[in-house]
Symmetry: C2
Subunit: 133 residues, 2 copies
């Protein structure tokens, strides 16, 4: 089974996660799980805020952080996309663990990052980006 | 394609990752990537040391840390296994990202953990466990 949601995600990601484009590929009841905080962020608007901020911090593939996906596992309506990036000389390695609903909209988006130093850096940059709103 | 390595991993994991059993399912040139440190640990002996220590810290499924897998993505020779656990009241959520070689031996094992508090806890416990050797 082809995962139809993944192509849409890659297209929006390539544009740097603009909020109006994110709105088209997220389910209304979407949930975001940050690498830093335990509590899930529930609802489309919150997920848009986080993914748009991540787009600003990490940039589009090929952007300032040299963000790029290096491995992709697809299993039905689930996908695990491994990425690498580098910010201020700190190597970042992480995954986007994405669940799509029956209409191929994103209903659950979980991010994990390694190593520890990279999480500290991302937390700092994401907090600054989210405070701009 | 059925992933033949995964059943072997689950069997060894259920026993708490005994080193002699790990040795049977790891490739000689296996590599381990910790959630904490950037530098990969290269070679079967090092990978055994880390996975055996993780087995002690997190325990077998159903053990003291209530470790259990909650999601499994399988794509050819790659697998992403999401787990949850709880240690000293701290909720741990993570993934084992495993690559198998053509003989279904584990050649690359990467762990990522969230949230930040859980990584701190795991780092502390893993360091204590590895120092016992």
């Amino acid at each position: 089974m082809r995962n139809h949601g993944l192509a849409a995600w890659h297209r929006v990601m390539a544009e740097g996660n603009p909020p109006d484009e994110l709105a088209k590929i997220l389910a209304d009841e979407a949930v975001f799980h940050s690498p830093v905080v335990h509590t899930p962020q529930v609802g489309k608007d919150k997920v848009i805020a986080y993914l748009a901020a991540a787009g600003q911090v990490l940039g589009a593939p090929g952007g300032h952080a040299n963000f790029r996906y290096v491995r992709e596992l697809v299993d039905g309506h689930e996908a695990c996309l491994e990425f690498i990036a580098e910010i201020d000389g700190i190597a970042i390695n992480g995954i986007d663990l994405i669940s799509f609903d029956r209409d191929w909209l994103i209903r659950d988006f979980k991010v994990m990052v390694r190593p520890l130093k990279a999480i500290g850096k991302l937390r700092e940059l994401m907090a600054a980006e989210l405070e701009k709103k």
